[in-house]
Subunit: 719 residues, 2 copies
């Protein structure tokens, strides 16, 4: 594959001259020296001002924790082992490495490991394809032993970046494609195309990796997504680059105008209306530095919390070994062994030819971490943020660094941790309030048009909030309509007319978290505390009804499959079966749902079979190291044979066991004009909240803010 | 009523010596000169540092807007008119003034008023009782004309502060009460009592205002709420102070210990464990000052938004005349005429003798604004906050000032307004992100034990978030149990054992907002956009199903009564019937629900009849000036004859009309030990979100943060 010509194409296709200058900064292509940065290694102690991005020389990384990701050196070792592994050694160029990451030691080994202990054997797990045959291999980096692991019956591994970058380019050498584009009145030099996973609908030709290519005109805007060449779909063989089929149902559908589509500051600042004034500068300031420490690059400590954090090519952020110090006793208590985004499911709601297949599973198909770009200091994260990099692998096994992929910062928004004033009724002079400060770990994945912002927020009171925000750019549909009055009544646009010739198609977003809870250790159970109306016996009370809480412990997986319902309120407790509080309550954490959405698709519709992990909002499974990816290990073109739903329907016992909690956060998105040409952030979240985990309010001790402790600030000289 | 002895009692009862020094600061009793502050009037322009609380001499207040609340002078005028009004004039001491506030001019008058116009006639509306007979009077302050308005058939007005302060004191002169307390082993000097509204259960004696008094031991703690003298209930006549009945079912139930109950910093700071370290100072800083202005005390302008804000004795915060400048055209557009918390409903879920009647309606019974105490600078609101006062009225009609009742501040939490990066697929060098800054108006009401924090949050993208956070102290029940193992199986505690002898009783919170929407003016309709599964015709598509949006316009009130359901997803649009966007979409705002809870009580249970406004989460009614209080004008001992539910069941037409949106935010609260002895904040919210209101993303123009614009801060000298 020819990167320089690909770059040249993209340059033309996007019409931005910045590209030539900066294209290599965001993604180190193997063709460039990826690790040319010479900046010295910095150990970030709390006294270090961490406002600057962490600039670390990953060549010098040291492994200090069993869960530390593979270093550059380890990746190179693993790669050389793979290249000399039979059969790969006979034709190394026929080998594609789809992922190469740490093969984590067994949970029991990690849980018993203590700082100072020698590290368990370092192993890598590689997902590769050699001459079209998939391999999943565990590689011992010291003994160089390679063990073949089971391979799923259907589907393909996550696409490589090279797959995604080369596929859109392939049709350009096809005469028919050129003819079609020209027939649509678009200059080839203005064309930008996207690689779109095509799911599985029974008819997919077996035994080949296919992808659908759809194209846009980038003429006059960097936001080519708003200018679809509607109805044109190229079916491509991802490996041979053969154009299997070209479909163009878009004749007569104009390309939407580029007017008002560019969102870049360089463009908008020049035509900002006189009446629009930006707010005065406001900033989160902590000049004495953050309160958290990041040791050896991955081990975070803050306000009693400690955890291991790392970047993962598929999941994005992985949080491991989460524990918190009990304020009563000073002892550390376990909460969660491992938590991450396991899969996404994004079905669009247009059944027509060029749209029906758009049912993305972004983690398993595109790599949620691979798409996580460097965060923008001062804008993606506040000034007091600390940044972590990711180290990923190209298709030929070479390591590269994704800079500033994760940020960590303390957050204070003016909210209140707890408060009480005595009121005029008692008129006691009590006015106690405490500011709420939290720790946020953030990443943002840009899966082509869409941007997902994932926050892990840790509160001093023991609550953990998983928040997902959506921004970025809609996937829009071209139409000949320029006004709703032109739309024949009864005709379904499958969305909203956002601008002349532009339809925002209705779609859902589902983000499924895998949360391996270890509340005070692995011996956990799951209880559904059902709140139901209880009628009083006649004469028992002037009341005829009240709300009664009844605790039901789920014995098996099916008893723990939850469809939320406002009029069937429940609490969902993961609790320890051996430990209680002083007065006898089981120590637990509860899942607290906020706004969410459920999939409304037919459970037997092929996309819903593949996305069956969204059939419930909550699932509980017994711990199984091999059950990490809710849509299956191989999601690309999968048939739904290896999903959370399939595993859980085995209905295994889950009582008093090491259990895993799965939660799916959902959004229905009916686009509106405010989403054009780029969307204001929409977010939702869910919480893990301590429930009788602590003996009492764990933040009673928090001191109030006092003027003398706050920073002294002046407006900047340039203000 | 003897204030000094009441103070002495409370001093003993709470054991805090601060009280004697400061008791008068939080609530100016008529017996003190209420307005002794001499600090000069400050006009807060954006260039003024508003970190300091606003300290205004309300004697000099000038009325500059038709909706400005009554000034001290106006209250004094209204009072003198009332006192000389026949029949009151014959015995002024028999007159009780339950509320005295602005009688707002007709909506049409206010909407057509422009700055510079002369003000419409200033009128006050008084709710009074004279010789046990209620009067609702409109008083013209210039003509001195008094008009009697209709009086509800049942119920009583909101209690006066004097009612609430004197009732708990009344039983102390009763021998039987003293005997009971002594029999429970509590010293009279340690007793603190609360006035508890008793609702209505059919049996209430007619024609008298009754209240139930329950008591606590304040020995050894300021948090007497954790030490109930369980089972003791005194039924009291609020007017005669006659003890009607004493019930004590608490024999054998010990008073819980005071251990670990005090939460005040003065106490906790001395026994903080060594391993607990507060986070380093962090602060919201904007040294060049806020971007908002507050003109004439009530008119707020920020980032295109403008509205009128005032404190109200019953509702707390009232937001009026909300509009926003369209970034496309620079013209101002109406969004909402008036919004406020109309009522609360807080039923406890224990049907037994001492608990069944606890079904509070905090706004109509206690006064949500009357209970809103001064906010604590740096802790209730961040350093950059600006504070507004309230002016209220005592039972004899004298005005007093509630200082710092509302704060306004710009909020930046490190969140993102919108973003997009191009990903490795296209590898274009685009990294655009914008920080999210919002404006918050906040109050906190302490209704005895509970604290409600109400935020109105305004976003630059046109979204309005109504957020309610709960903190403060649980209303707990004494028990003889000290461990869950002592509880006989099958016995219902109606809650959770929080500590030895302390049960946190299950309860709900419902907060009902009245939102008089005027989206681009009063000609509005309400549409339910239903998202339903649509099956494809055979052969139509490889997909068998998709999600289809269908718009149903509600013609009458009943068609707009919404019970939310996750598996019946809908959007709820209030839209203008005369105005559309360029491409023909009706301009609207949608209600976006987040986490909420529904009342599960029997609809015919007396408390639910009174709280029937919680029967749906969303209601729409045609505008009616007299329909402001969802539980009725007279809520105390009401029978549910005058609620939102009764009005809306008339099923009036609401299409293409001036309509009012009602939204109820709910919480189920099953207490846990973390809520003892004071609760970490729990919050939820709902949004009003523009939907095709703007032609495109209204914050496209926002500039990114740049280092040169941010403040220069240093840790404080003492750090």
């Amino acid at each position: 594959m020819d990167y320089s010509s690909l770059k040249r194409f993209l340059l033309l296709a996007t019409g931005t001259f910045l590209l030539l200058l900066f294209a290599h900064f965001s993604f180190h292509l193997p063709s460039n020296p990826p690790f040319s940065r010479s900046s010295p290694f910095l150990f970030h102690s709390p006294s270090v001002n961490t406002a600057k991005p962490a600039s670390r020389n990953h060549e010098t990384d040291i492994v200090s924790h069993p869960l530390d990701p593979l270093t550059i050196q380890e990746i190179n070792i693993a790669r050389s082992i793979l290249l000399s592994y039979s059969p790969f050694s006979s034709s190394p160029s026929s080998l594609t490495i789809h992922s190469l990451s740490l093969d984590e030691p067994d949970k029991s080994v990690v849980r018993s490991w203590k700082p100072g202990n020698s590290l368990p054997a370092r192993k890598a797990v590689a997902v590769t394809r050699y001459k079209d045959k998939p391999y999943v291999l565990s590689i011992d980096l010291s003994t160089k032993e390679v063990v073949q692991l089971p391979v799923p019956d259907s589907g393909y591994p996550t696409m490589t970046i090279e797959d995604m970058m080369s596929a859109p380019w392939a049709p350009f050498s096809d005469k028919a494609f050129n003819a079609t584009i020209t027939a649509r009145g678009v200059r080839m030099s203005d064309v930008a195309c996207l690689p779109i996973s095509l799911g599985w609908y029974g008819q997919t030709e077996e035994g080949r990796r296919l992808i659908k290519i759809q194209c846009y005109s980038a003429e006059g805007t960097a936001n080519f997504y708003m200018r679809p060449i509607e109805g044109l779909t190229v079916l491509l063989d991802m490996d041979t680059k053969e154009v299997v089929e070209i479909t163009d149902k878009g004749n007569g559908i104009p390309i939407p105008s580029s007017t008002n589509t560019d969102y870049r500051y360089a463009v908008t600042k020049n035509n900002r209306a006189a009446w629009l004034k930006a707010p005065n500068p406001i900033s989160l300031e902590q000049p004495s530095g953050p309160s958290f420490t990041v040791s050896e690059g991955h081990q975070v400590k803050w306000a009693g919390w400690d955890f291991h954090i790392k970047a993962d090519a598929r999941a994005g952020i992985i949080i491991s070994g989460l524990g918190i110090i009990d304020p009563e006793t000073g002892t550390r208590r376990e909460v969660m062994y491992k938590g991450f985004v396991s899969e996404l499911f994004v079905p669009y709601m247009d059944p027509t030819n060029a749209w029906y297949f758009k049912t993305y599973m972004d983690a398993g198909e595109y790599g949620f971490g691979l798409q996580a770009m460097p965060l923008v200091p001062l804008n993606d994260c506040p000034r007091n943020a600390y940044y972590l990099d990711g180290v990923f692998v190209t298709a030929d096994g070479k390591p590269y660094v994704r800079e500033n992929m994760i940020c960590l910062f303390e957050k204070y928004s003016g909210d209140i941790a707890w408060r009480h004033s005595e009121c005029p009724i008692t008129d006691m002079e009590i006015k106690e309030a405490r500011p709420k400060v939290t720790l946020v770990a953030r990443m943002s994945a840009s899966v082509a048009n869409y941007d997902y912002i994932v926050d892990w927020e840790f509160q001093t009171d023991g609550l953990i909030r998983m928040k997902v925000a959506l921004s970025g750019i809609l996937m829009v549909k071209g139409t000949s309509y320029t006004h709703t009055k032109d739309v024949p009544s009864g005709e379904d646009m499958y969305g909203t007319l956002l601008s002349e010739n532009v339809i925002g198609v209705i779609h859902d977003h589902f983000i499924t978290f895998r949360l391996d809870m270890d509340v005070d250790g692995p011996a956990n159970s799951f209880a559904r505390v059902k709140l139901t109306r209880q009628a009083t016996a006649s004469g028992e009370s002037p009341r005829t009804s009240f709300l009664k809480a009844t605790r039901h412990v789920a014995a098996t997986e099916k008893e723990a499959q939850v469809k939320l319902a406002l009029y069937k309120p429940e609490e969902f407790h993961v609790y320890n079966t051996e430990k209680t509080t002083r007065v006898g309550n089981p120590t637990g954490y509860k899942v607290v749902s906020a706004g969410t959405a459920a999939s409304m698709l037919d459970p037997n519709d092929p996309p819903q079979l593949r996305g069956a992990f969204t059939n419930n909002q909550i699932w509980i499974t017994p711990y199984n190291k091999s059950e990490e990816w809710a849509g299956g290990l191989f999601v690309y073109q999968s048939k739904g044979e290896d999903t959370l739903s399939v595993w859980a329907d085995r209905n295994r016992p889950i009582e008093n066991k090491d259990i895993v909690l799965w939660y799916t956060l959902g959004f229905h998105h009916v686009p509106c004009q405010e989403d054009f040409p780029i969307m204001p952030t929409v977010s939702s979240s869910f919480d893990l909240k301590p429930v009788n985990f602590f003996e009492k309010n764990p933040v009673l001790w928090l001191p109030p803010n006092q003027e003398k402790d706050l920073p002294v600030c002046t407006a900047t000289a340039t203000a």
